[in-house]
């Protein structure tokens, strides 16, 4: 019979309860952190809200993205812990929704209502609501599944390596390897007869994949997601993002080797499948939060999108310019390119094209193979 652990002290009880609240809210809280929290409470005491809050933040939080979730959980937890369960009455707020769709000429009936009252008005642009749909990847038909499996087995994503800053032993290296030379000299009574050398090693460049998952890309996004998964699981130093109405990082979710688990996890993480695209905004968010800080520096960045953008093409152009300046190679994969008579006239595509190093097709397995070749080939121009 197993002993049931009964928390003895207030600090322990508080820590365990709060950890449970956080886990319920979706935060990962390992046991070590809970123990650290108990120690911390032992130092600062459990009486004051502020000190408990900061003690929890120092021991249970790992990323600034979780701060908001932590704040809300702590508010709930502290109210319950303090025994104050009275709920404040929430005033119902009437909000008028006005749809602003550039394509529609006729006025909606709600327009008149907007002018009549003083309620706060939310103007919803194209992709009026984020389409919260969870795609079921098990709904592939046999043909698509076969294609995807072919993709996985045949593609290699190595890409040109770059010089690493770590040195490793090499026969004809350019720099002397002093430790090894001294050791070898002991055998000869102190004479450095055998000299050892070292060379800088090689390292794979980072590969960043930005996949457009909006409505216009729907026929292609599923197959391309398989491609992205193959890249993530088949290579080191890969990052994967989904672009839709917003940018979502899905590298961790795609890490599983089993394609079905990985894709199921990714589909849970990403919420705006088949919505509208805000290419410029998403790339700006990527630049600000990830790219400029170092993820895109010297990396190979591949954008898989048809270029249909509901946002301002100026924004997209500026962000692509910023991106191109720091990457090693910028590749744009467009499934529409193969269409006979296609010219990149779509607002987004035309704006982004000058800042793209390689513009390739992306509609079929052959196109994906060509893409893998483009990634692996050493470009002539070296920035």
């Amino acid at each position: 019979m197993t002993d049931v652990y009964v928390p003895r002290t207030t600090a322990e009880r508080m820590a365990v309860t709060f950890a449970r609240v956080l886990r319920g809210a979706g935060l990962r809280v390992p046991l070590g952190s809970v123990l650290a929290f108990v120690d911390a409470l032992g130092q600062v005491g459990v009486d004051q809200r502020d000190t408990v809050y900061w003690a929890g933040r120092a021991t249970l939080l790992r990323r600034p993205e979780d701060i908001e979730l932590y704040d809300r959980s702590f508010a709930v937890f502290w109210l319950a812990a303090a025994g104050d369960l009275s709920e404040q009455a929430v005033d119902t707020v009437h909000i008028t929704l006005a749809l602003d769709d550039e394509d529609e000429d006729e006025n909606n009936g709600s327009d008149d209502a907007t002018e009549a009252n003083d309620d706060p008005t939310l103007v919803l642009r194209f992709s009026a609501t984020e389409v919260l749909r969870h795609k079921d990847f098990a709904a592939y038909d046999a043909n698509e599944l076969r294609i995807a499996q072919d993709l996985m087995s045949q593609l290699r994503f190595i890409g040109p390596p770059r010089r690493s800053y770590r040195y490793s032993a090499a026969r004809h290296g350019r720099r002397p390897d002093l430790p090894a030379t001294v050791r070898a000299s002991l055998r000869a009574g102190g004479e450095p007869i055998t000299r050892h050398w070292r060379e800088p090693g090689e390292r794979l460049r980072r590969l960043v994949l930005l996949l457009d998952i909006s409505g216009s890309m729907e026929p292609y996004a599923r197959a391309m997601l398989r491609f992205v998964h193959a890249a993530v699981s088949g290579r080191q130093r890969v990052e994967a993002f989904a672009i839709g109405t917003r940018l979502t990082r899905m590298t961790k979710e795609l890490h599983s080797r089993d394609p079905d688990t990985a894709l199921a996890a990714a589909s849970q993480r990403v919420h705006d499948w088949s919505g509208g695209t805000r290419l410029g905004d998403c790339i700006r968010v990527f630049n600000d939060q990830w790219g400029i800080r170092g993820m895109a520096r010297g990396a190979i960045v591949v954008i898989l999108s048809d270029g249909w953008d509901r946002g301002d093409p100026e924004v997209l152009a500026e962000q692509m310019r910023r991106l191109q300046r720091i990457t090693y190679q910028t590749v744009w994969v467009n499934p529409l390119k193969v269409t006979p008579g296609y010219a990149p006239l779509a607002r987004g595509m035309a704006a982004a094209l000058p800042y793209v190093d390689d513009f390739v097709e992306g509609h079929s397995l052959a196109a994906m193979q060509e893409l893998a070749r483009v990634i692996a080939a050493t470009p002539e121009r070296r920035r």
Binding site: A40, Q43, W54, R57, A58, T59, R62, R166, P179, V182
Partner: protein
């Protein structure tokens, strides 16, 4: 003896005395780092004052500041220890010249060579093998620039506070150093290392705190100027710039304005000194687009103090 504060408020007070004004969160995290003897990981944008924390801690506690600047490819020979090969080779020559090496076996010769006197102690080993009453402050700066291999080694060191040099033996810390790690978040620090440390995300300070910081760091700037500068920087941070200015930039700007003898902001001065606070051309352009006159006006309003 090692400084032992009683409450986070003590820490905040002591840090303020030595030139750093922390917020409640940072004071609590530092307090816990000192009392629980855990390393402290400070993450935040560039220029918010992460490295300063370690320097101030050193001033306060009197412990020696040992700094390890990380970069990609940093390895054991630069971070932990290295052998002084040139002196070892000379020692071999000397032993040969005096005829001493004739009577020695290779093992004995090796033992002479791999001795502590030829050992160059780098930052990590210096911190572990520190002698003295006050534990040193080990600052591991910009850990996000190092790579996975170094992080794995660091995790081992920070767990046991022990370093093994194969030829000599094990060095243990009599008193564990106070470890502060900083990261600009260009890369995610490995989970295992994060779990070992206490974590604090350093934010830009709020208006009142920033004014106090400017007053403390730039005493030649008058209260009115400090308030206007803090107000202007607060506005700049809302403009969606590529690199929003941090506390370091605020201090630089205040120093520049004070050096020019200004007692308040005006359009021409701001235009001339914009480079002290914004380092990207696109950011400067965007500020001009927003309007420097507007910026100055908002700064005046924000900094206004009814007397």
């Amino acid at each position: 003896m090692a400084t032992q504060p009683n409450t986070p408020a003590d820490v905040a007070h002591a840090l303020s005395l030595h030139g750093y004004i922390p917020d409640d969160g940072l004071a609590t995290s530092v307090f816990l780092a000192m009392t629980l003897r855990r390393p402290l990981l400070l993450e935040g944008e560039a220029g918010v004052g992460k490295t300063e924390v370690a320097k101030v801690l050193s001033r306060w506690t009197g412990g020696e500041l040992i700094r390890l600047q990380c970069y990609e490819g940093i390895d054991v020979s630069q971070a932990v220890y290295d052998w002084d090969y040139s002196r070892q080779l000379l020692h071999l020559r000397a032993a040969e010249a005096t005829g001493e090496s004739l009577g020695l076996t290779t093992n004995a010769l090796e033992q002479q060579l791999y001795n502590e006197r030829f050992l160059l102690k780098r930052a990590l080993l210096q911190a572990i093998d520190h002698v003295g009453d006050t534990p040193p402050i080990l600052l591991i700066d910009e850990i996000d620039r190092a790579d996975d291999e170094f992080e794995a080694y660091l995790l081992e060191v920070l767990s046991e506070y022990q370093i093994t040099v194969p030829e000599i033996g094990r060095f243990s810390a009599v008193r564990p150093p106070l470890v502060v790690l900083t990261s600009n978040r260009t890369r995610d620090v490995h989970d295992a290392l994060k779990r070992r440390c206490l974590y604090h995300w350093v934010e830009h300070p709020d208006f009142e705190r920033e004014v106090r910081i400017v007053r403390m760091r730039v005493p030649q700037a008058l209260e009115r100027l400090a308030r206007q500068v803090a107000g202007a920087v607060e506005t700049l941070r809302t403009l969606n710039l590529y690199k929003p200015p941090g506390v370091a930039e605020t201090i630089d700007w205040a120093q520049a304005l004070a050096a020019l003898g200004r007692t308040e902001l005006d359009e021409a001065t701001v235009e001339a000194t914009l480079g002290a606070v914004l380092k990207y051309r696109e950011d400067q352009d965007r500020t001009r687009q927003h309007g420097i006159a507007d910026l100055v006006k908002q700064a005046f309003e924000r900094g206004f103090q009814p007397s």
